[in-house]
């Protein structure tokens, strides 16, 4: 990742693609800032895990994916699902617990899913999306399509047995799954060195005979290229890939956590690597972005976010009784058949 390379005009990405990435990163950051604001104002409840600082990872990743590819995400999933195609307004509606939310207000921030776009679920349980993505990849292979499945997860998740089992199965089955570890150096309050001694994830993944690399997670283009290669491999039937994207969480674990355990200097240092600022610099250097366009993007995003909030606020509040629905396909929550014929046919 030498400096020169980074400054060179990419030949594999068009201006439109690069601007779309830039816009998406800005959108995610804006989304989370706005969510934080209304969370602190008491309009949004539950937990809010922000991915501010990490935007390059999901944006770079999903820029290499098709709509029919799958992703699984985590508690810190706003960036992942926005990158894969979620709309701001329906996300806000979900955070507001409204009927127009992706999950009709039943899921909230940690459980956003949009099956129509291959977003098969964020997850409140650390690491549990990983084997699910392997299963999606198995399903792809069995159905004979050329989709791929991507699993996003954090550094902390790599200490879970589920991570290990998932990598091992993917390696054995050689299914089209891409493991994208967003190593933001913290698992809640615990630094990476508490999750693994001298943790080298590339080595770990390679011990399963899975091709692996570590990329600069603060460089959206680097992430894109790494995932692009993995996608090619997966689509051509060459099995799984592991990618560690080194990144940083600019905030505490969730809104409300001051992050007292993150050294000031470390924070400073990483803020200097901000992926959005970096891409802005590059785009300007390459003549792809003027101040005016940049401002326009900011304005557009601001409008989109404000519209989103309005949309959420005015979305119908679910009937409380709605809590009882959607437990089963065929039965109500008390086990009474929902349709006569559906029970066994």
């Amino acid at each position: 990742m030498d400096r020169k390379n980074q400054e060179e005009l990419p030949s594999d990405l068009t201006k439109e693609q690069l601007l779309a990435m830039y816009r998406k990163m800005q959108l995610i950051r804006g989304f989370e800032g706005t969510a934080k604001k209304y969370f602190e104002a008491g309009e949004i409840g539950g937990f809010l895990h922000l991915s501010v600082g990490q935007e390059a990872v999901p944006v770079g990743t999903c820029s290499a994916l098709r709509k029919d590819d799958y992703i699984t995400s985590t508690h810190r999933g706003h960036g992942d699902v926005l990158s894969k195609g979620c709309e701001v307004k329906r996300m806000f509606a979900e955070l507001y617990g409204r009927t127009d939310g992706y999950c009709k207000g039943k899921g909230g921030s940690m459980h956003i899913a949009d099956f129509s776009q291959g977003i098969i679920g964020a997850n409140g349980i650390v690491s549990s999306g990983i084997p699910i993505a392997v299963g999606a990849a198995l399903s792809i292979r069995m159905r004979g399509t050329d989709q791929v499945a991507v699993s996003f997860f954090g550094d902390g998740a790599t200490a879970e047995g589920s991570f290990h089992e998932a990598l091992n199965l993917a390696s054995l089955w050689q299914v089209p799954v891409i493991f994208v570890c967003q190593n933001n150096l913290y698992a809640l309050s615990q630094p990476w060195s508490h999750s693994a001694r001298d943790g080298n994830l590339v080595e770990r993944a390679q011990s399963y005979h899975i091709p692996a690399e570590s990329v600069d997670g603060m460089d959206v283009i680097a992430v894109y290229r790494s995932v692009e290669k993995a996608v090619d491999r997966a689509r051509s039937g060459d099995g799984p890939t592991f990618i560690e994207a080194r990144t940083y969480r600019f905030m505490g674990h969730y809104v409300g956590d001051p992050g007292a355990y993150m050294p000031e200097e470390e924070q400073e240092e990483w803020r200097k690597k901000d992926a959005i600022a970096k891409l802005r610099r590059q785009l300007k250097m390459w003549g792809y972005l003027t101040d005016k366009v940049d401002e326009q993007i900011a304005t557009d995003i601001e409008a989109e976010l404000q519209d989103g909030i309005e949309y959420a606020r005015s979305s119908v509040i679910p009937e409380p009784r709605e809590a009882l629905n959607d437990v089963y396909v065929h039965f109500d929550y008390l086990g009474r058949p929902l349709k006569e014929e559906s029970n066994h046919a």
Partner: protein, 328 residues
């Protein structure tokens, strides 16, 4: 009608459903030939369908359960085998937090059509980690369905239904039932979930029994019949959905209720039946509700100790007699 074993009935269900729907596939440890699974239910299937549809997994219960969930979410219909119900605890997170809840958390977008087959129960000196009856753990979790067939006929019909349902099913077989035989028609059939089967009609006491204890209750019924006591044996077949109406109707007729299962008494399924009846049929009850369940201890190894805690016909018959004598 022809008679086949519980094992054969299950295998037929798997074969028929795999033939009917190519999205159905099997996943589990040691399920392929020549071993063909610990209790031989899947023996021969990899030879028919190939190891692409009878997928052997390493010993990774968490991993393959998650993989089954992921496959189910994306258009496939996995049928997973846990060799022993005791090992489901390894995958409890995926079962409880994922399989059971994804549909709800996604606001009804997702379907999770996956069947988790497993077997439990004592009776073979398998000791504390290979003979549990922990259906209550699944029965308590919103989002899961639980089936426990007691006969070859029910096993086949319920398994076919389980595979066709779009909800996650915990399908619990019993190790001692595999060799039991029963009438199973040649023609295709399915059995709906949530419909109890009155395995024997009677008038003096309702006995709700599950899985292995249905057989014991039927034996007890024979013994008691000779003494002029007539019990009605109700097999719910699925613990959830539960056909409480049939149970309540029976209690209204008999005025007495005994529930029996192989699982430990404390917090078991019988408690739920007792609680529902103590609410819904309170005025019809002439006697205290009885449970004949295993004492709440782990399963001991030695056969005589294991026998001691197992449910047999005499334990059921004794309690019924007492109940009828008003001797409780």
């Amino acid at each position: 009608m022809r008679e086949i074993t519980y094992r054969e009935a299950l295998k037929e269900a798997l074969i028929e459903e795999m033939k009917r729907d190519e999205r159905v596939f099997l996943l589990g440890e040691d399920i392929a030939d020549p071993f063909g699974s610990a209790y031989k239910v899947t023996l021969g299937l990899s030879s028919i369908f190939g190891t692409d549809r009878v997928i052997q997994t390493p010993i990774s219960e968490q991993g393959f359960t998650g993989a089954a969930v992921g496959a189910a979410l994306t258009g496939m219909r996995p049928v997973v085998e846990f060799m022993y119900i005791d090992f489901t605890t390894m995958a409890m997170e995926q079962l409880v937090n994922q399989a059971a809840k994804i549909r709800y958390m996604s606001g009804g977008q997702a379907k999770v059509p996956v069947v988790f087959r497993t077997q439990g129960g004592p009776g073979r000196s398998s000791a504390a980690q290979h003979a549990q009856s922990i259906e209550a753990l699944f029965h308590h979790i919103p989002g899961l369905l639980v089936a426990m067939p007691s006969s070859a006929y029910d096993a086949k019909g319920l398994l076919k239904t389980a595979i066709r349902l779009d909800d996650p099913v915990i399908f619990i077989e019993q190790k001692l039932l595999y060799n039991t035989k029963g009438e199973v028609p040649e023609e295709e059939y399915t059995i709906p979930f949530g419909v109890a089967d009155v395995k024997r009609n009677g008038t003096d006491c309702t006995v709700v029994a599950t899985s292995m204890t249905v057989l014991k209750a039927l034996k007890a019924a024979d013994i008691l019949a000779e003494e002029g006591i007539s019990i009605e044996v109700v097999d719910p077949r699925t613990l959830f959905p539960l056909d409480i109406e049939t149970i309540v109707e029976s209690v209204k007729k008999t005025s007495r209720l005994l529930i029996t299962h192989e699982a430990p008494e404390r917090g078991g399924f019988a408690a739920e039946v007792a609680a529902q009846v103590a609410n819904l049929a309170f005025d019809y009850l002439d006697a205290p509700i009885q449970r004949v369940c295993a004492p709440s201890v782990p399963i001991p190894f030695a056969r005589n100790m294991e026998d001691y805690i197992m449910i047999d016909e005499s334990k059921i018959a004794d309690r019924v007699r007492k109940l009828i004598r008003g001797d409780i």
